[in-house]
């Protein structure tokens, strides 16, 4: 049953992917500026320009361009980066691992620490802890990543000298970026876990669980946690895509390679093929995240499994 559900979800991704590809393709053309301008030497003639435009196929009809592009995508052919003059696939392959490591660690950090903090604050109802948690959650969800990154660099790298200021060499250079991205996630996950647990505690069936003579701990881990996990899984799934894309500014501040830095650089240079490939990657990550979240939820909740299959 869960396989069937997964298959249905996958089918639904086809129209979504199509719309996304059109949007990504079009968005780039709506941007002002032109990569050809970056390639031309000062004083080039209009003929030189037209030749370059034709070389990259930019003189053809938009619809034709779209289908050529999407056709190439399907064959794993991402084209040549116009400004960087290298295959886009190489650029992506070079940068993606950095993003995945950073994103994966930040995801792991925010989900484990967030769920632990949320659970603790839901069961230990101490006014002081409560106030601390609320302050922490407020900070976590409002402090911008790039600013937090700067503060962390100032404190841990410049003052204490524990971690490198920037770069991507070894685990030490990962600590601060992971903390930066994870911080907001921890706060978000902690909040959702906390609220979900408190909501679950108020459900009618909890009374009956106590009436069965089960201990509070058994009730928490065997009955309340699965309920609380449902919304947490949704949030986490949405964050999979967000973390990859949201790492953009953080990668930039820490001077790390990655999909985000690549995207920002390509955007500045109007390097269409690179921008498109990066956006496509990020959109794919969001879609995959949503898919994983939906399937995880369905495997946990029999009601969802049945409603949609």
């Amino acid at each position: 049953m869960i396989l069937r559900y997964t298959f249905q979800r996958l089918l639904m991704l086809i129209p979504v992917s199509f719309s996304i590809s059109v949007v990504i393709f079009m968005i780039v053309y709506l941007l002002p500026g032109d990569p050809i301008d970056n390639l031309l030497r000062v004083g080039s003639s209009p003929e030189d320009r037209a030749e370059l435009v034709a070389q990259y196929g930019l003189d053809r009809n938009l619809v034709v361009q779209y289908f050529v592009w999407i056709g190439n995508m399907f064959q794993g052919e991402f084209g040549q980066a116009i400004v960087l003059r290298r295959p886009v696939a190489d650029l992506v392959a070079q940068n993606l691992p950095y993003s995945l490591t950073l994103g994966g660690l930040a995801f792991l950090f925010s989900s484990t620490v967030g769920m632990a903090l949320g659970t603790i604050s839901a069961i230990v109802r101490h006014p002081l802890l409560d106030r601390f948690m609320r302050g922490f959650i407020l900070l976590g969800s409002t402090v911008p990543g790039f600013w937090l990154a700067l503060l962390l660099i100032l404190f841990f790298s410049v003052n204490l000298g524990w971690f490198p200021v920037s770069g991507a060499g070894g685990w030490k250079s990962l600590v601060l970026p992971v903390l930066t991205i994870g911080f907001g996630g921890v706060a978000l996950v902690a909040r959702v876990t906390r609220v979900a647990l408190l909501d679950a505690q108020r459900e009618d069936f909890v009374t009956l669980l106590h009436a069965k003579g089960l201990s509070s701990r058994t009730i928490l881990f065997r009955h309340l946690m699965p309920h609380a996990l449902l919304p947490v899984v949704t949030i986490l799934a949405l964050r999979i895509g967000w973390i990859l894309g949201g790492a953009v500014t953080v990668e930039f501040v820490f001077g790390r390679p990655g999909l985000g830095s690549l995207l920002i650089r390509a955007l500045g240079q109007r390097d269409y093929p690179v921008v498109q490939a990066c956006l496509l990657m990020l959109a794919l990550a969001v879609m995959l995240g949503t898919l994983i979240g939906d399937v995880a939820q369905a495997s946990m909740d029999p009601r969802i499994r049945e409603k949609k299959s």
């Binding site: 459900e203 009374t207 009956l208 009436a211 069965k212 003579g213 089960l214 946990m300 909740d301």
Partner: protein, 320 residues
């Protein structure tokens, strides 16, 4: 078996329940009746020792079960009684079961916990109990999820959970309120049979006087967090002495005659924060006089029954 004396409950500064007393023995059914908000469910929660869940605490009185006072029982020992010797049946079967778990494990838990049975033995027991509750194909039902079953079926599952460890006392808190009328009758009959077959002591909380008349041996009538009248069911129905009891009985629909209109009691139950002074029922009482607004009436005992009304003796003379 179960003997509650002068029970009082408080949530912070408010005291929604006070001076509630009743006793129920093996093979006996005690009805607790009253409108919504009269403190019936609170009484059930107090006996189960589950008040702390909602932030309440017992402020006075005793809950004596099998010779020991439960109000002084430590939580660990209390857990052995809950589900083990005292079973609870809750109001709304639609929300009483964990929606994420199959029926089987939810019932198995009780026997595993209190009788120390293995997974396999507990499942056998579950299927056997489901069978005695007239649930068709117990083995199949065990593999179902709660949302795949009807309300009546779910209530039987809840009853099965309450019975799984062979308890001495069963507390049923409005077990039929959320069910269809036809199913209501089945569940009530089922409970009635169980009391006789298993020699259970049943505390049946309801607002349905006709259910009380059919099944109970004794009744406690509650109003605004207090017991206002109690006694054997025949005595209460033949000669109700408290005006509130009289009003409740007058509300029972009789027959299907179209001419008889459904009646209710004028006014509404007071909320905890504005319980009236004196006799709590005086604002709605047809017989209230000056004394009722100031002095709380004591129980006027007559035979096995007692009514807390200043005019209980006078009421004797008047037919309900």
């Amino acid at each position: 078996m179960l003997n509650v004396r002068d029970l009082g409950v408080a949530f912070g500064a408010v005291q929604p329940l006070s001076g509630v007393s009743f006793a129920v023995g093996k093979g006996e059914t005690l009805g607790i009746v009253g409108e919504s908000g009269s403190g019936k469910s609170l009484t059930a929660m107090s006996v189960m020792g589950l008040l702390p869940l909602s932030g309440g605490r017992i402020t006075g009185g005793t809950v004596e079960f099998d010779g020991q006072d439960l109000t002084k029982l430590p939580e660990r020992a209390y857990r052995k009684l809950r589900g083990g010797r005292i079973g609870l049946i809750t109001q709304n079967p639609m929300t009483s079961l964990d929606p994420l778990q199959k029926i089987g494990p939810q019932v198995d838990d009780v026997a595993k916990l209190h009788l120390g049975l293995s997974d396999k033995a507990a499942r056998d027991r579950t299927e056997e109990i489901l069978g005695t509750l007239r649930i068709p194909e117990p083995a199949l039902i065990c593999e179902r999820y709660p949302h795949q079953m009807s309300g009546g079926m779910k209530q039987r599952i809840v009853i099965a959970m309450a019975l799984a460890a062979d308890p001495d006392v069963l507390i049923a808190d409005e077990p039929t309120t959320a069910l269809d009328v036809t199913v209501q009758a089945q569940i009530i009959r089922l409970l009635d049979d169980l009391v006789k077959e298993r020699d259970l002591a049943l505390v049946l909380i309801t607002h349905d006087m006709s259910v009380v008349a059919q099944t109970c041996d004794k009744v406690v009538v509650m109003y605004a967090g207090r017991a206002v009248e109690h006694g054997p069911v025949e005595a209460i129905f033949d000669r109700p002495r408290h005006p509130y009891t009289q009003a409740l009985i007058a509300c029972i629909p009789r027959g299907l005659d179209e001419a008889t209109r459904l009646t209710g009691i004028e006014g509404t139950v007071p909320t905890v924060v504005n319980y009236p002074s004196g006799c709590p029922f005086h604002p709605r009482c047809p017989r209230a006089e000056a004394i009722c607004t100031t002095a709380r009436p004591d129980f006027s005992v007559e035979g096995d029954s007692a009514a807390a009304c200043h005019f209980a003796e006078v009421a004797d003379a008047q037919p309900a």
